[in-house]
Symmetry: C2
Subunit: 366 residues, 2 copies
């Protein structure tokens, strides 16, 4: 594959439809989204200290060909930026920069920047347009697509937010070259997730490509990102506001995972790492409750391990505490926590809480 091809993936949501554009070096080729940019004269970029250092100046330079006025703000890096104080300061900076309802907000960064800037876009003057330019693997395959935005409260993650679809998503897989190794691997957990929940074929492809993935081969990565976006878009289109249960499938591994993150203190495990362990637990639980095969559980574990991800429940966390933390999950339906369990690789089902003992039985993998 010598020629660089831009993959365009449509997300069909009636008057909230948009396109995900994926191409190596696309950050240098904003013409790829020229149709979108020509609708605006003013953009306001939100980024973080790490990403800003690498790409902000370049992005501004490239945007100047398309827009009259470009302003920006740089947040602290990391989850601690996803709080009300930072959202408040961005609103105020936007007022100071004379942003109005026609301003395009651009989120340049990972999942935190996307969630935070997305929430600001959803709420500034009752909503302004948003362009997502995700720069981590996690954000490229997951959080930049689908319209979930949010900030954390001291009591929990994403307790405040909005569904706010972007007007476009621009993905340049080459920016992943600068991603720290651990963060890159954490993103792969969500990639594996798509295989388990939606596509046995994609799961097999990942099994076959573990070396190229570890070398961050730009062509293989482009294919993987596009495939994940396609799979995610297919789910979001079915259940934009997470009301029918379809979208809940994306939470595979997350109920166990959130409990690990919460109990260890956010930041100890990366989100993707917690999800990797959570997926192994969910697979084990499925084995215990519904005849998911041991061979399939082992395939999931092996793929995650090969990609450098943890698969064992963190030592020192009592099962009783994990159960309690899982029951605080906000994705409750009538006060009862639902779990997403695989029926086969490529397929999951939503099940009601099968009882504390059963849920604990999947925590023996230490």
């Amino acid at each position: 594959m010598a020629k660089i091809v831009c993959q365009k993936i449509p997300v069909n949501l009636a008057n909230r439809s948009y396109t995900i554009s994926i191409a190596p070096k696309s950050l240098d080729q904003l013409e790829l989204i020229g149709d979108l940019l020509e609708k605006y004269s003013h953009a306001f970029i939100v980024t973080d200290a790490n990403v800003g250092k690498l790409y902000l100046a370049k992005l501004k330079r490239r945007l100047k060909k398309h827009l009259e006025q470009i302003d920006s703000t740089v947040c602290p890096a990391g989850e601690r930026a996803k709080v009300m104080e930072i959202a408040y300061s961005i609103w105020q900076k936007m007022v100071g920069a004379e942003c109005d309802r026609k301003t395009l907000l651009i989120a340049l960064g990972g999942g935190v920047v996307g969630d935070l800037a997305g929430f600001v876009a959803a709420t500034f003057m009752r909503g302004v347009d948003l362009l997502q330019i995700p720069t981590t693997l996690l954000a490229q395959v997951d959080s930049s697509v689908g319209g979930k935005t949010g900030i954390n409260l001291p009591q929990g993650k994403n307790l405040v937010g909005a569904f706010w679809q972007p007007k476009g998503v621009l993905i340049d897989p080459e920016v992943l070259a600068t991603l720290p190794d651990r963060e890159y691997r954490a993103g792969l957990a969500e990639v594996v997730k798509y295989g388990v929940i939606l596509s046995a074929e994609f799961f097999e492809f990942l099994e076959q490509q573990t070396e190229a993935i570890q070398q961050r081969d730009s062509q293989v990565l482009s294919h993987i990102i596009a495939e994940c976006c396609r799979l995610k878009a297919s789910v979001v289109v079915e259940d934009e506001f997470e009301t029918t249960g379809h979208r809940a499938r994306l939470n595979f591994g997350h109920t166990y995972g959130h409990a690990f993150e919460f109990l260890l203190g956010y930041g100890e495990l990366l989100h993707g790492e917690a999800v990797a362990i959570g997926m192994c637990c969910a697979a084990l639980l499925a084995q215990h409750t519904s005849g998911f095969s041991n061979a399939e559980t082992e395939r999931i574990q092996l793929l995650l391990q090969t990609l450098g991800l943890p698969t064992k429940v963190p030592a020192g966390l009592p099962a009783s505490e994990i159960i309690r933390a899982m029951q605080c999950d906000k994705k409750k339906v009538n006060k009862s926590v639902q779990l997403v369990l695989p029926s086969a690789i490529g397929n999951v089902t939503l099940v009601a809480w099968p009882g504390d003992e059963q849920v604990a039985s999947a925590l023996t993998n230490r």
Copy 2:
């Protein structure tokens, strides 16, 4: 009219449709919205100190017949409650009360409570259902219908917010009996507005009923509120997100009005009072620029005066400052402020800023 009739006004917005239910004593007859209430088991009420004292205990008692769990919070009364700190404290109280995505948020109060609680509903866990129970005339005829929610920033009103349609609006005109006189009259300004912008017939009805209106006749008020809700719903349905210009017609009198409010300091003039003066200015400007008749301007002035509303530009505000404040209005289109001017009673048009001198020429009515 001996028998109490509940008027049901539909607001047709596809999957965001809802019904406005209007009846004297409806706060005592929650069966009127039984179909809505039966969908929930948990409600969280937001009210303010003034309204809470009068109606919170009663509402809770009545709700107990329909719901398992009812929690509430009481905010300070007045515009100062429409700030991020208060929204933040409500989110936290909702977490503390174990609210989840299935909780019904109820806004019991005037425009401030409705805007604030609406914003909280739009953003708590990415959105929970909202029931508006407006208790001021302004909120009953205007702010509770149409889905605009928001809070203020130090730099301006409603700079942060969301479009979030309620699942229902319950209006009891009898609660207006306890409304302070000045606040009641301020609400009448928005009532007159509907006549000027949308219905000559309704304007005439108001001219004929000034005495009954001043006596707060509950039957006449029910009719007036229903008519205003119908007119507002017809506009909202055409332009839910204020993008086509239809909804902008509701801002008649507001661009001048906001400038007066801002320059005098919020709270000096009530919003409705500022709008009353603003409508007179807009009528005068229409006379100067497009042949709106002097007789019609005088009809507007006379009706407002008869209802006890101010019609003259506040003394001591230089025209130049008013112009500057008007140009900071957030409803800009491509950096230019649009004005809503009457072409005849019952009809308005959107016009581009006609130049500072023209706009100032309508400020001579002191």
